[in-house]
């Protein structure tokens, strides 16, 4: 067992334990969603580096707003490090949607913090697809301490967009489904939208290498994938300027 693998497994166990304790004790997080325990995987995942994560497609680019309201290109947050990006909206309550992603991100953050070999190599991005409600200030409150926490070798960015017009190319580019349900009797669009959770693992050259739905989003599989990409870089040093 490699030192990285050992450290990662130990860190993941610690993170899962912390999540379990938090859930059992009802410990309140400093932010909108509190981490809850996740059930263990019902299978033994393939070892990191024993499989290939293909380049699914390039991550799209566009304008986003950070929590200070500054307009930035999304590529600033999808290049140079491995990026785990998920779409959310702050009022989402579906337990298999945004809250699940939040829990997984929290558990991963703890695992990465406890694994020095991963420090500085991964970032998280949480991007709202509700620009009307999720202003930069709302995203700041939603993030709580996560947005300013620089410990643990990982930055977590909370982003939104100025408008649906700026958002939609990103939604379309990622293939993040957002649907307008229609009322059967009136035929009119209902006030709410529906979406399916997707989380994207993006490599340093901004290529999407894995897409997780709720059925496959688990800290163990994501960490394995992160390690797989790092092992790939180790064998073939990535030079982003030549890759793209």
């Amino acid at each position: 067992m490699s030192a990285l693998k050992y450290a990662r497994n130990a860190a993941l166990s610690l993170a899962l334990l912390l999540g379990l304790l938090a859930g059992l004790l009802g410990v309140s997080a400093l932010c909108a969603h509190q981490p809850e325990p996740l059930p263990a995987l019902d299978f033994v995942p393939p070892a990191p580096g024993s499989y290939t994560l293909h380049r699914i497609m390039p991550a799209p680019d566009g304008r986003v707003l950070d929590i200070d309201g500054r307009s930035q290109p999304l590529s600033r947050y999808t290049r140079g490090q491995l990026t785990l990006l998920g779409f959310i909206y702050t009022t989402c309550v579906d337990p298999e949607g945004c809250p699940l992603a939040y829990r997984v991100f929290d558990l991963l953050k703890a695992a990465i913090a406890a694994t020095p070999a991963l420090h500085g190599k991964v970032r998280f991005v949480t991007l709202s697809f509700d620009p009307a409600r999720d202003t930069p200030e709302v995203m700041r409150r939603y993030a709580g301490s996560r947005a300013v926490d620089t410990s643990g070798g990982l930055r977590w960015y909370f982003l939104t967009t100025r408008s649906a017009r700026e958002l939609m190319p990103l939604v379309e580019g990622f293939g993040q489904d957002v649907r307008v349900p229609y009322d059967r009797t009136s035929g009119r669009a209902r006030r709410e939208l529906s979406h399916v959770l997707k989380v994207f693992l993006i490599d340093r050259a901004a290529d999407i290498r894995e897409i997780y739905s709720s059925l496959f989003l688990h800290p163990q599989t994501v960490l394995n994938d992160i390690e797989t990409l790092l092992m790939e870089e180790g064998s073939r040093p990535l030079r982003a300027t030549e890759t793209k």
Partner: protein, 426 residues
């Protein structure tokens, strides 16, 4: 596909006030990654029909049938979209967001992508993917299985010798080729392919096996007299590590195992299939030690008469299974309360030849089509070509409507998918 952006922007801008949660699961035979589920009354059945030379325009087409009993058009064709090609149209599948149907033919490598979200009553052809053969070497795309942001396509043949050695091709939802995976030829694998189905909880991908172009494009009467050709059918299923996309184990399942259905009951972790040539039901599950096994769990009809089971449809709770057998035109229901010992509890002749069988999520409605393959369908008066809609009350199948695909000059009715006007997406 980018043309839908402006419409969606407008729709989203109007409706950007609140959101609903995600829905998971689907009608009983689709990928578990498909986002939306028609739990109530479906409005449409999309039928992927084979063109027939001299009948109408002779092309393969996607036919939309109104199946809502409350509609004035109930049981009628409301839309037909011709591809302009005749390539043995066979199966189709939704993308994970259920906005698009991918459909293809077994004598070709093209994949047609239809937008069924902009207006579910009028699918629109938005893309044709034409690089399957060049990129993978495979021929005859059969199963289109949605993965998150991707489509896994199982082929039946190959471009080199048009035999049964084949594999799967992975595309992203934009129709760009990503990778290919050969069917296993080691560890007992025979290299054939047919269907695939995923159990995400177990990281398990199951595949089955049929035969190659050289066989399935031959007239059936001629083929069955060719002893050597009849040896060239798949006799295996394979269990893959889904994450790694690597075969882990090959099962001996003699007689061309076809459609694979995992039980959708969250307490279950088994899958079932039917073998075409040996007329058996096979169960794939883990034993007490966690080892995956495949076992023969019973016959379908009288195997000595080769009823040729060609499609199965599993109940949403995993407690029942519809089986259609082509040669005797019979639709059978098996009680799967004990999947180790399925019991046939009902049968009815639903046509002179029957092929695909699809049920609504609640199991109350059943749709049946007639065509197996252009060169395998029966001749003369037995060559009925139809979509028939039935209701099922737990005791009796009652036919409610029929569309004669020959009379309507539509061709041979094969695969079906359900649609709903509520799935309109801007």
């Amino acid at each position: 596909m980018g043309h839908i952006i402006p419409r969606r922007i407008a729709a989203l801008a109007l409706a950007w006030l609140a959101f609903a949660g995600a829905a998971f699961a689907d009608e009983t035979c689709n990928s578990p990654y498909i986002s939306t589920l028609i739990k109530g009354q479906e409005d449409y059945v999309y039928v992927w029909a084979l063109g027939v030379e001299g009948l109408g325009d002779g092309s393969d087409k996607l036919v939309t049938v109104d199946v809502n009993p409350k509609s004035k058009n109930y049981g009628k064709v409301i839309h037909s979209l011709s591809t302009g090609a005749r390539v043995e149209a066979h199966h189709m599948g939704f993308t994970d967001d259920r906005r698009y149907i991918w459909a293809g033919g077994l004598s070709d490598n093209r994949i047609w992508v239809f937008d069924v979200a902009a207006d579910p009553a009028k699918p629109k052809l938005v893309q044709t993917i034409a690089d399957l053969g060049d990129k993978s070497g495979y021929l005859g795309p059969h199963t289109y299985y949605a993965l998150p942001g991707r489509m896994l396509v199982q082929a039946l043949s190959n471009t080199k010798d048009k035999g049964g050695q084949t594999g799967m091709a992975l595309y992203n939802n934009k129709g760009q080729f990503i990778a290919s995976y050969a069917m296993p030829t080691e560890g007992g694998g025979d290299g054939y392919g047919y269907d695939l189905a995923v159990n995400p909880k177990k990281n398990a991908l199951l595949t089955s096996s049929f035969t190659g172009y050289a066989n399935y494009m031959r007239p059936l009467g001629e083929l069955i007299k060719d002893g050597e050709a009849m040896k060239k059918f798949g006799n295996t299923m394979a269990l893959w590590d889904l994450k790694a996309m690597k075969p882990k184990k090959v099962f001996s399942v003699p007689g061309a195992p076809l459609e694979i259905r995992w039980s959708l009951n969250t307490k279950d972790d088994w899958a079932i299939t039917a073998t075409a040539l040996t007329s058996k039901l096979w169960l794939v599950r883990q034993d007490g030690k966690g080892e995956w096994i495949a076992k023969d769990v019973g016959a379908i009809g009288d195997p000595s008469k080769t009823p040729l089971p060609v499609d199965i449809s599993i109940a949403r709770d995993g407690k029942g299974l519809w089986v259609s057998t082509f040669m005797d035109g019979t639709t059978r229901y098996f009680d799967l309360a004990n999947p180790e010992a399925p019991k046939q509890t009902y049968e009815k002749v639903t046509g002179k030849q029957v092929n695909m069988v699809s049920q609504s999520w609640d199991g109350k409605r059943l749709y049946i089509t007639s065509s197996l393959l252009a060169n395998w369908d029966k001749g003369g008066a037995d060559n009925e070509q139809f979509l028939r809609g039935f209701t099922w009350d737990g005791k009796e199948l009652t036919q409610k409507f029929e569309i004669d695909f020959t009379k309507e000059k539509l061709g041979r009715a094969h695969h079906m998918k359900l649609g709903s006007k509520t799935l309109r997406a801007g």
